[in-house]
Subunit: 244 residues, 4 copies
């Protein structure tokens, strides 16, 4: 992760998120095998090789036969700001989460400030927003304001803890830009649904306007998944990036 | 809601949450009718009156026949701090949410500070925490620190917005004690599961240690549900407050 | 329901399914209100009238903002053959079921045979099947064979019961054409997903090839829903009958 | 599988079900790691060895902290009668299914008849049924009636197919005792919920009365899971076989 520490004030500033694939099972052939049980029953268990795999996966994706894409599993470790996890946890189906708890642990002094390149201005009207680069002045304001708020919030948090206040109360001061960690488990189908909403992509049939930071997470997850299930990934892109 | 405004600094302080039942359908008899379709099929549609309703509902609860408790719906409007909604949204099954978005709207300067009576000290060891009243000094520290952080965070937010920074970026400064609003829809079964985890109750077979503030929300929801489905509510309490 | 009893052999033949709306809550305005909480927070609770409702619902449908369509509930009573319920129960999310149990009740001698007009021949190749009218000979074979099997199965079932065999064992003889009853509860979003897969419609962006009989059920549910939420229904049709 | 073919009549009779573990990922240590992220955040990724694993898993189970048990996956191939799959598919959460389709494939002439040892008589009253051994006469009636019905149904199915009737129509004659195949994917938490309802066990805090045949499936799944996650399995049994 990009980290820009600021010695002396006690907080560490990050400009990126972190994603790693912890464990996984299943691949393109799991999709094929699960789909074949529908048409071949018990005989589906006999190996059929990869011939026709690409075409069948593309057919399933195009026709929105979603269930064969569920017989696999990926567990990710994700480190990102709380406002990203707030959006993430709205994905209910096919997702399992365990996130760091501010009740049971003292959070670390790690906060997120957008890096260079992250558009800072919202333009357009409600329902059709887009984002463009900030001015140098805006870059400076964002850094200064967020940094000052993070330092104040962190010191407040520390003072409350030092006074013997419960962690679950002291944490109320922490801004949604503070970093947290979680394990998230999904399958290819639930991941595709997530990606369809949380990435901005030319190939998408239905355009989405995710916040920059959750797309950072989404793209790193997408890269891992693409390696694990290349034929499924290709079919997803070739069919408008709509979850089947 | 309790509100303690502090004229002059631009922020409003709340010491409570708000819950109201927006709409609902189904009642104790819906549970009965749905259960009877299992044993009577089409004949279940003929009215049977309320005789035996209490006993049947108690039987279903005790034996954990959960599905008859799903054929009803309650929609709540809830106003509470973000840290409460963070816990709330971990309930995935049988719940629907729409929450105020800091991307599409400028949040209001409304923040939560614990009221008198809210225990401020965590005692005991990991896995078995309990909470006791704070000292007057702790009361003061919590108010002072949270209030100062809220004012700083709000002014930072305002300055970033004034500089033309996108709402979705400016909001990073806002602490998890800021208030938000949402609609939440559930059914009696998913609500019971929520209540079993988010209330602390003598009658509970499995003890739970929810954070004070989400229990404030849970208890207000429970009160509305108790009026709508009194027999189900009674059976829930009489059978250890475990979701069937 | 169409019923063609055949006096003397003990079984009753049905050529249709039955659907009725038992209870419901929520309407087009519930969609609006839930959507507005995202952009207006607490102020969403102030009434806004219906002006703009149609446009907003169409926008939500087109952009696949699905969650506002979940704050409503419909409970249906459905009487249909077991092979229809087998397909129905594959819909997991946003659905609640209670079905007549062959373990707890003795099933009624009611069976389904396709009515005139139901296509009996499958043509085309795997993945692109369509169905065309049967020949008079096929009509006759289907009636004769199904009727004979139903009579045999029913009499077998009765003989096993008469011999003191448990209902859960005796029922093994009953064919998937036997009728059953259930309560099914859903919301507009889960219903739209069901309809997108279980109807064959010119307006659908993604074509589906459901079995005739589950489409009979789906169309009757659709008719009830169209009355309850006309603007949402119109937007569903105008946007390719894809669940948002 | 036990198979008792009956040469000459075209049908094959099975007296058992078949379950095999196709693939899996995750183990007891995945539970530990996911739980530790709640209390240790990023530091949870550093290995901690197995010391304390047993105690922590037992604690999570007893206190009903369920989410750490979701970061794993098991895919099973299951061959069983349709009436078993009917019950199976009522499990909606944390389960993925692909089953052989009678619309896309011609089913095989394989049917289930209870083996010796399967209790055939239901005793007791509604809500508290139990099952005891059948008399020799009942054994004979069950075999004779089911076998005769299966032969008749199968021959009817064959005659309709031979007449050019679509498979999806011809299959209406097939009884729920016909065998089918499916892939089912779950995680330890959803499997525990399944086992709590679909096994009859001395150690269960909440008694359940599953049908014999789905317990045959459940017990075979349980045996595979016990090998993959022995500490979790032990904690499940030691805490009343209730899903956390």
């Amino acid at each position: 992760m990009v980290m820009n520490s600021t010695p002396g004030d006690g907080v560490e500033i990050y400009g990126d998120v972190e994603v790693s694939l912890v464990q996984g099972v299943g691949n393109d052939m799991s999709v094929i095998t699960a789909a074949r049980v529908s048409t071949m029953g018990e005989r589906s268990r006999v190996g059929h090789g990869e011939s026709g795999a690409k075409g069948l996966i593309n057919f399933l994706m195009r026709e929105r036969h979603g269930s064969p894409f569920e017989h696999n599993s990926m567990t990710f470790f994700i480190k990102a700001p709380i406002f990203v996890f707030r959006e993430f946890h709205r994905h209910r189906v096919g997702w399992s989460y365990n996130e760091e708890s501010g009740r049971y642990t003292t959070l670390a002094p790690e906060f997120y400030i957008p890096s260079e390149g992250r558009p800072l201005q919202q333009v357009g009207k409600a329902g059709a927003y887009s984002y463009v680069a900030g001015t140098p002045e805006q870059d400076r304001v964002v850094w200064d304001e967020l940094h000052a708020t993070y330092v104040q919030a962190w010191q407040s948090y520390q003072r409350m803890l030092a006074a013997g206040v419960a962690r679950e109360v002291a944490r109320l001061s922490l801004p949604v830009g503070v970093l947290s960690s979680m394990y998230a488990t999904c399958n290819a189908r639930s991941l595709m649904h997530f990606l369809s909403l949380r990435t901005r992509d030319e190939r998408a049939l239905v355009k989405s306007g995710p916040q920059w930071e959750i797309e950072l997470v989404a793209r790193k997850m997408e890269a891992e998944w693409a390696k694990a299930m290349p034929l499924t990934y290709e079919a997803f892109n070739n069919n408008g990036r709509v979850a089947p």
